[in-house]
Structure formats: structure tokens, C-alpha cells
């Protein structure tokens, strides 16, 4: 039986090797890279156990240096893009969920709620759903547990939909609609996959009137002289640079 070194990529490979110093450097790099990848992919409990062992058994200065070196190694891995944690259908959800994102327009006594015309909650053609919206599911999954991410998106929506029926936008509301999936054996016996009822609750309500007003002002200035518009653009750039 051929060995892995001989079998992969065909018959006996060519034996012209690089210089010795290059082989040693690449070998060390190989071991460092794989050690870093394995370290980054250990469970958090393993990392905590290591940190606690170091704190207990090493002198304070050495412990500090170890933690610092570990941080540098992780950052180098982050720069190189080798700190990915791979999950392919790992922990799967036991319920189906979807965001329903509403804009709340007008004051409290004359409030109008509008289901915003967004991907995954409005009528879209097949082509649009398969081509234009191909990132939406992952985006929603990534902001599912990230309140700041949801607020980021809410502020963007405020700039896109600042008014409705003459009323200014006040809040962006994230409602969650959930339907539980029946366990496998129950599903087989009942020959259906889902519970009959949906649950809906409000996950977040973000006050975004400032972003909406800014968007309305920018739209009004679009019809103003070009110099005024340039001022607005440079002010936006300055805001970003200041941040």
C-alpha cells in the first residue's frame, strides 16, 4: 500500500528540495500555524482552564507574558484569517423564527405602524430572492443575538424610510415571530412538522428619529445649491473620521 507521502498527487514526487534554512523556517511556521488554529478552535472552557492553571502555578510576571503572547498570537491569526471557528449545521434551532421589522410613524396619539418593504418580509420575485437576497438569511442570523447589530440596521432603515403618509419616523421595532418544530417522532406520528400556533413578541424598539430627520434634511438639501450639498458630504466624512 502506498504511503500518504507517495500517493497524493501522483507517483513518486520530484526530490529537488528547497535549501535547508527554508525547510526549517517553513516547518516552524507550519507547527505555529496549526497550533494557533487548534488553540483558536478549542472550547472556551478549555481556554479558561488554561488561564486559571497559569494564574495559579506561574509567577505573576511570567503569567502576564504568557497571556500577552497568547493575545499577540490570536491577533496575528485574526489578521491572517486563520482564527475561524468552523461550524456546519452544529447546534440546530428547534424553532423557526423570523424578524418582522416595523417603522412607527407619527406621535403616540396618531401612530401608524408600517411593515417595511424589506427582504424576507415582502413580496419579491424568485430572481430577486435567489440572487439579490442571497445574503439576507446570514445577515439576520448574525444580528439575531447582537443588539448593537440590530440597532445599526435600525438606523440604516431610518435613513431609508424616514417618513410615511406625511408622518416622520419615530421608532424601528423588531418583532419576532416564532413557530416551534415538533420533535422527530411526534412529527412522524402526526405527519406534520410544526406546531399550529405562532408566537409573536417585540424584541427591540429603537428610537431613530434623529437619523430619520437627518435623512429628510439631506433629501431637502439635494435640491439646494451644490455647495450646501458638498458641506453636508464633508460633514458626514468628518463625523466618520472623528469616530
Amino acid at each position: 500500500m502506498t504511503t500518504p507521502t507517495q500517493s497524493l498527487q501522483g507517483s513518486t514526487p520530484s526530490v529537488s528540495l528547497p535549501p535547508r534554512w527554508q525547510r526549517i523556517a517553513l516547518s516552524i511556521a507550519t507547527l505555529l500555524i496549526f497550533t494557533t488554529i487548534c488553540w483558536c478552535n478549542l472550547p472556551a472552557a478549555a481556554h479558561q482552564a488554561c488561564y486559571q492553571w497559569c494564574e495559579k502555578n506561574l509567577p505573576a510576571q511570567l503569567n502576564y507574558r504568557m497571556r500577552q503572547s497568547e493575545w499577540y498570537a490570536r491577533y496575528a491569526a485574526h489578521i491572517g484569517g486563520v482564527d475561524n471557528r468552523w461550524q456546519m449545521y452544529g447546534g440546530q434551532s428547534r424553532f423557526n423564527w423570523e424578524f418582522q421589522i416595523y417603522g412607527e410613524y407619527g406621535e403616540d396619539n396618531e401612530r401608524v405602524d408600517r411593515l417595511l418593504p424589506l427582504p424576507r418580509q415582502s413580496e419579491r420575485s424568485l430572481l430577486t430572492r435567489w440572487i439579490v437576497d442571497f445574503k439576507e438569511a446570514k445577515f439576520y442570523l448574525n444580528i439575531y443575538n447582537d443588539e448593537i447589530g440590530r440597532e445599526c440596521y435600525a438606523r440604516y432603515l431610518a435613513r431609508q424610510f424616514p417618513e410615511h403618509q406625511g408622518k416622520p419616523l419615530k421608532n424601528i421595532r423588531f418583532d419576532m415571530r416564532i413557530r416551534y418544530i415538533l420533535p422527530p417522532y411526534v412529527a412522524v406520528s402526526k405527519q406534520k412538522l410544526f406546531e399550529d400556533d405562532f408566537s409573536t413578541f417585540t424584541r427591540d424598539r429603537f428610537a431613530v428619529s434623529q437619523d430619520a430627520q437627518w435623512a429628510l434634511a439631506a433629501t431637502a438639501q439635494d435640491s439646494a445649491p451644490a455647495a450646501l450639498l458638498l458641506n453636508t458630504v464633508s460633514q458626514r466624512s468628518q463625523v466618520v473620521e472623528d469616530r
Partner: protein, 320 residues
């Protein structure tokens, strides 16, 4: 014993290997990402502009997760419009696919993908992470040595052909791909008991986000026998692939098995197509010289058959 170990290590990591499988990898993943860039064009501004979903223009709202300093877009914010980067990225992708100034286009494509990932991590999916990992190692090899515009230009200038590549970056890519399965499989068992009992496919089928689009019969039919078969097949092939792919008698079977799994997922499951097809593209890096020879022989045979069929049809039409 130690000398034999060193010799095996040197042969595995530092010999020279056939360049054609990596050229196939370059063409496959470059072609896939060319389509990916076309798909992302309608949302380019929305995803990456300062007033897009990253909301950089909201002055009172700092979000440290977006617009990281590792992104090229961070440093050009305010003086280069974001729209200018799409044609640049697409041009790098096409150049990479066709092997035109391959190393430069590899670096350019890597910088663009990195810029996108660090600008807006909320939309990052597996395909960006896979290609970013592969492109890092591709910087250390001449992907344009064969089947490329660079190879054609070298030939035109009378320079010698480069048919082999140093093994090191190829091995790094191969092992990283195997590590994806070696790492994700234990986490599968730990995070979801369904992968142990054979019921994991039930939750996949039922998922409206990542599921099979209404093909509920897969889990409901026959007392769930199909769902157990699919679940255990997935576990089996993901367990066997990282080890058996290194042995010649098993290599083609495990490659075919895991490619079939990913192609099936890519065609049936919405929202993960690009990731699964990018994994299929990376499997070309495991092909051996004889696999490529066989594929070229089959392609040649099919081409000759089609040509002779065409000639016969043409002759028949002429006689009529």
C-alpha cells in the same frame, strides 16, 4: 528511524507537485467568486457604504464590530467612494480566474475579501472565510504556472514551462480543509444530540432558513428512515474524508462522496449555496496527477464523440 521521519517530512512538505490540480482550483473558485461578485453588486452600497447597514454616519452610535482597521475601506473612508471598489474587486477576481498576473491578482483579491469581511462582519458567510484562508496560502505558490494567460505569455516569450509547484502551500491548504471537518464534527456531536441519534436532518429539513424548501417527506416518510440515512451518511463521510483522502485507493471515493454531499446541499438548500460550492472547489486541491489525466482523457473522449456525432448529422442533412 529519525532520519526516515525527516525524509518523509521533507518529501511530504517540500517536494514538487503537479500544478494542474491547483490551476483547476484557481479556475473553479475564481469562476464561483466572479458569479458571487455579480450577485453582491445590487447590495454593494447597502452592505459596505458608510451610510449603509453599518451606519457609520450615526455619530452618537459607536459600533466597534464594524469598519475594523484591517479593512481597506476603513482607510479610504471619506475620500474614495465605496462604489469604486466593486469594479476593482471584480477585475482582480477575473484576472485571478484567467491567471493574468496571478500573484498580484491573488493578493488584490485577498485584500478585497479582507476589506469586505472587516468592514461588515454581519454579512460574512462561510464562502468568504474559505476563500480568504485559501488565498493566504495561494500567495506562496504560482497558481498561474499552467492553464493561464501567464503561462501562455511565458510560452510566447520562449521561457521554460513551470509544471510543478512546491508542496508546502498546497499541503497547508489541504490540511486546513481537512481541519474544517475535524473541528466541526466534534462540535456537531457536542452541540446537537441529533447527530448522534440520527435525527439531525429532521431539524435541517424543518428549518425555513436553512432547510430543504418544503421537502418534508424526507423526515416524515418511512418512520424517519431516510432522515437517519442522510444524517449518518453526513457523519460518516465527514469522519472518513480527513483521513482516507490521503490514501490513493480511497481518495477518489471519499472525494466523490463528500463532493456529492456538498453539491446536494448546494442545489437543495437555500442560502448556503456559495459556501458549499466553494468547498467543492477546494476539493480539486486534493486531485493527483493521474486524476487530472483521467479527467482530461474523459473530456477528450466526450469531445471526440460529440464531434463525430456532429459530423454524421451534418453529412446526413447534406445527403437529404
Amino acid at each position: 528511524m529519525f532520519d526516515r521521519l525527516i525524509q518523509s517530512w521533507n518529501t511530504f512538505w517540500f517536494s514538487r507537485l503537479d500544478a494542474r490540480p491547483l490551476a483547476m482550483f484557481r479556475i473553479a473558485i475564481g469562476g464561483l467568486f466572479s458569479i458571487w461578485f455579480l450577485f453582491i453588486l445590487p447590495n454593494w452600497q447597502r452592505f459596505f457604504a458608510g451610510d449603509g447597514i453599518v451606519s457609520l454616519v450615526s455619530a452618537d452610535f459607536p459600533n466597534n464590530r464594524v469598519n475594523g482597521p484591517l479593512s481597506l475601506f476603513h482607510w479610504t473612508e471619506g475620500w474614495l467612494p465605496i462604489e469604486i471598489f466593486w469594479p476593482i474587486a471584480f477585475a482582480f477576481c477575473l484576472a485571478f480566474t484567467f491567471g493574468f498576473y496571478t500573484r498580484i491578482s491573488t493578493l488584490g483579491l485577498l485584500l478585497m475579501i479582507n476589506a469586505m469581511v472587516h468592514r461588515n462582519p454581519y454579512i460574512v458567510h462561510g464562502e468568504e472565510l474559505v476563500i480568504r484562508m485559501c488565498l493566504l496560502y495561494c500567495l506562496f505558490m504560482d497558481l498561474g504556472s499552467v492553464w493561464s494567460i501567464d503561462a501562455w505569455r511565458r510560452k510566447q516569450h520562449g521561457k521554460s514551462e513551470r509544471n510543478t509547484i512546491l508542496a508546502w502551500p498546497i499541503r497547508m491548504m489541504q490540511i486546513n480543509i481537512c481541519l474544517i471537518y475535524l473541528i466541526s464534527l466534534p462540535f456537531k456531536f457536542y452541540d446537537d444530540a441529533g447527530w448522534v441519534t440520527g435525527d439531525a436532518f429532521h431539524w435541517t429539513v424543518a428549518s425555513e432558513m436553512w432547510g430543504l424548501g418544503g421537502m418534508y417527506w424526507i423526515t416524515l416518510w418511512g418512520g424517519g428512515i431516510l432522515r437517519k440515512c442522510f444524517t449518518f451518511y453526513t457523519v460518516l463521510i465527514e469522519t472518513l474524508f480527513p483521513t482516507l483522502v490521503w490514501f490513493k485507493p480511497c481518495r477518489r471515493f471519499v472525494l466523490a462522496g463528500i463532493a456529492a454531499l456538498h453539491i446536494g446541499i448546494g442545489l437543495l438548500v437555500p442560502n448556503v449555496s456559495f459556501f458549499t460550492f466553494s468547498m467543492v472547489c477546494t476539493f480539486t486541491a486534493f486531485l493527483a496527477r493521474e486524476d487530472v489525466d483521467l479527467m482530461l482523457a474523459v473530456v477528450g473522449r466526450v469531445r471526440r464523440s460529440l464531434l463525430s456525432l456532429y459530423m454524421v448529422t451534418k453529412a446526413t442533412n447534406a445527403s437529404l
